[in-house]
């Protein structure tokens, strides 16, 4: 079933659909309102109208998101949620809310930057509660028991995802790179009631890879254009782990079920891997990546970045240097979404793979 058909189906079942822009937000709260977050990262659209609102130096995640609204492709949605992720998403959200008048509720979610201070924890908790009050105004009261159930479900989902990632890291997953991310990214719109069984089946069916071929780690925002995954598959390269904002960087490293579901959500948020959109210290990001390299024995890291993405680009030089010092190779690539792989990029990736292949043999 296509994403659109699935969402239509969910709507018919009585779920409200909330279009959610990247990246961090408490989806358990939406589930508890019997709503379904449909994340908007890289809709397959041609950019036309968005250019009348956004300058050429704005990234394609933001442009495509706005395009979706302008082309009316979000008509099925009952509202939008804008997490405060970066300057461009922030201003685009303001364009939508202040100037376009989409005629649907818009919710904003500001997560504290500096995720290492007591004040941040407290504020995050308050933000969760104020999001709930805001949603209650439109959607009616939220049942706290339902929230608890959804938080537990979120934990369960995170633990399966961790298991899948672990299996892959150890070379024990037979799925291709393309299939792996096709599966993981379905979490951007599937309800957990549907997504969890799908993931469990996927894990069962793909256990037992041969762990052959050099391993690489992807770091960046999202694996798009997906052709890169196909190319890596063709070249016999395994993506053994990732530090991608839309994928691994949103899986809490551990979860604990606190008595209070809000506290549990706070714990989960602060247990997420370090991330530039939360202003985690750069050292935390470097160490996290180096641990991944050590644990997966990856031969290289591909910084696979969206053009004009400031949060990611600032960290790359220091991270790349640390990766090289750790003896792994680095490839840095910047792309526009949905544009496929150019011949030049294909050649660069092939050369990179050849190099790590030689290292592997040595």
């Amino acid at each position: 079933m296509s994403r659109r058909e699935y969402l239509k189906n969910q709507k018919q079942k009585g779920r409200r659909l909330i279009g959610v822009f990247p990246a961090h937000y408490p989806r358990e709260i939406l589930w508890a309102f019997n709503s379904l977050p449909a994340e908007i990262w890289d809709p397959p659209l041609d950019i036309e109208g968005a250019n009348a609102h956004l300058q050429p130096y704005i990234c394609s995640v933001v442009k495509l998101g706005l395009e979706l609204i302008l082309q009316g492709k979000g008509d099925m949605l009952d509202g939008f949620l804008f997490p405060h992720t970066c300057d461009s998403i922030q201003n685009m959200a303001s364009i939508v809310y202040d100037y376009l008048g989409v005629g649907k509720p818009c919710y904003f979610f500001y997560h504290p930057k500096a995720p290492y201070r007591p004040s941040s924890r407290r504020y995050y908790l308050e933000q969760l509660k104020s999001l709930v009050s805001r949603l209650e105004r439109d959607l009616g009261p939220m049942d706290e028991n339902e929230l608890r159930r959804r938080v537990e479900q979120g934990h369960h989902l995170a633990s399966i995802l961790r298991e899948i990632y672990d299996a892959r890291r150890r070379g024990g997953l037979s799925a291709s790179n393309a299939d792996f991310y096709r599966m993981i990214r379905q979490g951007e719109y599937l309800h957990p009631d549907d997504f969890i069984p799908l993931l469990e089946d996927f894990l069962k069916a793909s256990r037992g890879g041969d762990g052959k071929g050099p391993g690489v780690i992807l770091s960046g925002v999202l694996p798009n254009p997906p052709e890169i995954l196909n190319l890596l598959d063709e070249l016999g390269v395994r993506v053994v782990d990732d530090d991608l904002l839309c994928c691994g960087r949103r899986i809490p490293m551990h979860t604990t079920m606190a008595q209070d579901p809000f506290e549990a959500l706070v714990d989960s948020y602060f247990a997420m891997p370090p991330c530039t959109t939360k202003d985690s210290p750069l050292k935390g990001r470097v160490d996290y990546l180096l641990e991944k390299i050590a644990a997966s024995k990856a031969k290289g890291v591909i910084f696979y970045l969206v053009k004009f993405c400031e949060p990611e680009w600032f960290d790359v030089p220091c991270m790349a240097e640390a990766v090289k010092e750790a003896g792994a190779a680095v490839l840095t690539v910047d792309v526009d979404l949905n544009q496929g792989l150019s011949g030049q990029l294909t050649t660069r990736i092939e050369a990179f793979v050849e190099m790590i292949g030689r290292q592997q043999e040595a």
Partner: protein, 437 residues
């Protein structure tokens, strides 16, 4: 802090700096000289400003090891650093200075050679380029002991300062100001107050000084008064003819950015204000024949300030207001030295760039009316997404609501590789025609 370095710093402060100031002012004491064609007499205060800023950068060379040094973002609540005696350096101001001297691409290239992408904010690239190469037109910037950033102007500064913190292995204090998509909440204010409280022990440790709340209140008062005075300076441009131009204001902005909270900034703006009021009394305008009054949106195009200034003055067009210069005066009435933390939270988180675009539009509408603006020049700055995204809509809405014509100039604040003279000329000519038509 080393005793020798401290002694050297004080010697330079008392003996060296005054000598340098005398030198920098030498030859200019007679005033700004003959006016350029199209302009009224220049501001006498420019000499004093040059002295102050030269002294600031000159002394900074001796601050390292003598005083705790902090690198600070332009929108950070620097008042909290003042009672600890930090010598503060504003890399954005340094970036503007490099930009004005057309050194942007050269310093940016240093950062780019280390992997910093050409699409990143050029203030950040200049600073990282300076940090990695040591190049600067001001001799030398002292290494910081502390970094102090606030994301009330952009998230970019935090990404940038995180890199510095990592490289230098020093603390980064972040004042996180939740963006106001809608109205500010009590939770937001309480969060910011708690952050300020959390900073005190770090500041005590880095500076080796105890927090003195009385001194803090006193310096908060100075800061508030300076911003008020700056607001009054800007307000003089409501008069016809305006006694200064926004291009003057771009330059005279330096103390309110870099020396906020220090008596020198307050004294300076009082002198400037006096001069401007005298000019108003005498009917002296910044340009000879002020026929049209314009507003500027966004940060200056630093390498083009002089050219633009001439180009518009020749046509009797004067820029009398800007969203940018206004940012250091806009929210100052919220500052209250008796409730410093809470009022600082509001003052700093309600600035233009931390508010929704609707707020910005309302502000611009107000400025257009108060300053009797006939047209608007919008700088779409490649470096600065928070300032630039939304400008296309603002342009359209101001035309619809107030019939204000405008032009968009695609450029960058300091990196002139992102600027096309030909394209800009063509657009400006069309704009001039509309304005005159």
């Amino acid at each position: 802090m080393s005793l020798v370095k401290r002694a050297r710093y004080h010697f330079m402060k008392d003996i060296g700096a005054p000598a340098v100031m005398r030198l920098s002012g030498a030859g200019r004491k007679k005033g700004p000289g003959r006016p350029k064609p199209g302009f009224g007499p220049g501001l006498n205060c420019a000499v004093r400003l040059k002295e102050i800023m030269t002294r600031h950068y000159f002394l900074s060379r001796y601050a390292e090891g003598a005083k705790p040094v902090a690198w600070v973002t332009s929108g950070a609540p620097v008042e909290i650093l003042r009672p600890f005696g930090f010598y503060t350096i504003y890399p954005e101001n340094h970036g503007a200075l490099c930009g004005a001297q057309r050194l942007g691409p050269e310093l940016c290239a240093e950062a780019e050679a280390h992997g910093y992408h050409q699409d990143l904010c050029s203030y950040a690239r200049i600073d990282l380029g300076h940090f990695l190469s040591g190049k600067t037109p001001v001799g030398r910037l002292p290494r910081p002991d502390l970094l102090f950033a606030s994301n009330n102007i952009c998230q970019t500064v935090v990404y940038w300062y995180r890199v510095l913190a990592h490289q230098l292995k020093i603390p980064l204090l972040l004042f996180d100001t939740p963006y106001n998509f809608e109205d500010i909440t009590e939770n937001d204010v309480a969060y910011m107050v708690r952050q300020l409280e959390e900073m005190i022990p770090v500041l005590e440790e880095v500076s080796g000084r105890r927090f003195d709340s009385r001194k803090f209140q006193e310096m908060t008062g100075i800061s508030r008064d300076s911003s008020f005075a700056w607001g009054e300076v800007l307000a003089t441009m409501k008069t016809r003819p305006a006694p200064m131009t926004i291009f003057d204001a771009f330059i005279h902005l330096a103390p309110i950015v870099s020396l906020r909270g220090l008596p020198v900034a307050l004294e300076y703006y009082h002198i400037l204000l006096r001069e401007l009021r005298e000019r108003i009394e005498q009917g002296i305008g910044a340009i000879e024949n002020e026929r049209k009054r314009l507003m500027w949106d966004n940060i200056a195009i630093w390498y083009k300030v002089r050219d633009f200034s001439n180009l518009f003055a020749e046509r009797g067009m004067n820029f009398v207001t800007a969203t940018y210069t206004n940012a250091w005066a806009e929210t100052i009435s919220l500052m209250d030295a008796d409730r410093p933390f809470e009022s600082m939270a509001r003052t700093y988180s309600l600035v233009v760039l931390n508010n929704s675009l609707d707020h910005r539009l309302q502000l611009m509408e107000r400025l257009i009316k108060e300053y009797h603006v006939d047209g608007l020049v919008i700088h779409s700055a490649k470096s600065c997404k928070p300032y630039s995204v939304g400008q296309y809509d603002i342009k359209r809405l101001l035309m619809d609501r107030l019939g204000i014509p405008s032009v968009i100039v695609d450029a960058d604040i300091t990196d002139f590789r992102a600027y096309s003279e030909e394209q800009t000329r063509t657009r400006l000519e069309a704009f001039f025609e509309t304005l005159e038509g």
